[in-house]
Subunit: 209 residues, 2 copies
C-alpha cells in the first residue's frame, strides 16, 4: 500500500496520502505571493498569471491547487472564516435566552463585521470562475454554512410567533442581500454604513423583536 493515512468509510477503506513536502512548500509560496500582490495592487487587479510568476510556479501548478481565484481567496481567509463561525457559536450559546430574531441579528452583525474586515478577499471568494456557471452565492461554502444557521433561526421564529414564513426562502434572500453585489452597492453607491444596512435588513425581515 502506498497511502500513509487510512480512513474507513462505510465498508470501504480509502487511502489518503498526505501532501507531499515539495507540494506544501509550493502551496505556501503561492499563498505568500498572492497575499503580497493582493496587498500591493488589490485583489481584483491581480491575475492568476501574476500570482504564478511571483510564486515561481507554472500556471498549471497554480490551477491544480486552486481552480480559480475564489478558491485561493477562500484559503487566505480560511482562518477568519473559522473564527467567524466559532464566534457565532459562542455568541449563540451566551445569548440563547434571547429571541430568535435577536440572535439572528447578532449573527448578521458578526458576518457584516467580517465583510468589512476582509471585503476584498470575500469578494474574491464569491466572484469565482468563468466556465462553471456563476450560480447563486448560496453555493459558496461560507454562505452555505451560514445558510443553515439562518434557516434554523427562521424555523425557531416560526415556531415562536404566529406567522409561518418559508425559512429557506428567507435565508436565501437574506444572504443574497448580503452578497458582494448587493452589499457593496449599498455601501458605495447608496452610501450606507454597515450599521445602517443591518438596520434596514432587520426592518425588512422583521427582526426587531
Amino acid at each position: 500500500m502506498l497511502g500513509s493515512d487510512e480512513i474507513v468509510n462505510g465498508s470501504e477503506t480509502i487511502q489518503i496520502r498526505s501532501e507531499r513536502r515539495d507540494a506544501a512548500e509550493n502551496r505556501q509560496r503561492i499563498l505568500n505571493a498572492a497575499l503580497k500582490l493582493f496587498e500591493q495592487y488589490g485583489v481584483e487587479q491581480v491575475s492568476m498569471n501574476q500570482i504564478a510568476n511571483e510564486a515561481q510556479v507554472g500556471s498549471g501548478t497554480l490551477y491544480r491547487r486552486y481552480r480559480n481565484k475564489g478558491e485561493l481567496c477562500l484559503d487566505l481567509i480560511k482562518d477568519n472564516v473559522d473564527l467567524l463561525f466559532s464566534d457565532i457559536e459562542t455568541y449563540l450559546v451566551q445569548n440563547q435566552s434571547d429571541s430568535p430574531s435577536q440572535r439572528l441579528k447578532g449573527i448578521l452583525s458578526l458576518f457584516i463585521r467580517l465583510r468589512e474586515k476582509k471585503a476584498q478577499l470575500l469578494t474574491g471568494v464569491e466572484g469565482s470562475s468563468s466556465t462553471n456557471p456563476p450560480r447563486s452565492i448560496i453555493e459558496s461554502p461560507v454562505f452555505n454554512e451560514l445558510h443553515q444557521l439562518l434557516v434554523k433561526l427562521f424555523d425557531e421564529m416560526n415556531a415562536t410567533e404566529q406567522i409561518h414564513f418559508n425559512s429557506v426562502f428567507r435565508a436565501d434572500m437574506l444572504l443574497t442581500a448580503l452578497s458582494r453585489a448587493s452589499y457593496s452597492f449599498q455601501r458605495d453607491e447608496r452610501g450606507y454604513s454597515p450599521e445602517m444596512i443591518l438596520e434596514q435588513l432587520c426592518a425588512l425581515f422583521s427582526l426587531n423583536k
Copy 2:
C-alpha cells in the same frame, strides 16, 4: 454642414448624422447572426468572436456597436422590454384604484413573465462586461427604469399605511431578488415555479393587502 439631422440642445446646435447605410446593414447582420447562434447554442455558450464570424464582420466592428454581449442582448429584446413598460403603464392606469401593494404585485407579475419568456437574453443583459466593474443589477438600464416605478409605489404604501420603510432600499432588495442569480437559483435549484416565487416575495415584502 455634414449632418442630416439637427437638434437644439440648450444654446448649442449638435449634429446627429443618421446611421450610414453600410453600417445599418452590418448591424442587421450582427443581430441576425447573434439570434441564430443564441437559438442554436444558447446565449451563454456563444462568444463575441463567433458572432463576429457568423456576421462576417471584424470583431472591432462588433465591439464598436456593442460594448459587450449584454448590450447586444439588450438590443435583441428591446422590443419586448418596450412592450413590458407599456404593459405596465396600461396596467397601472386600469388598476389605479387598487392598493399600492396590489399594483406592485401586478408589476412584479408582468416582469416575471418577461423573465420567463426571455430568460436567456435577459441573463445576457445583466451579465455584461468584464472591465467595467460588475456592479449591482440596479445599474442595468431595464432594472433602473423598474426601480423608479417600485420606489414610487413603495412611497405610496408608506403614505397609505402607518409604517415607514425605506423605499429605495426595499426597491433595491426586490430587484436584487429578481436578478438572474437569485431568480434562476430559486427556479432551478429550489424548484419553485414563477408563481411561487412571486408569492414568496409578496410575503417577504408584505404585499398582500
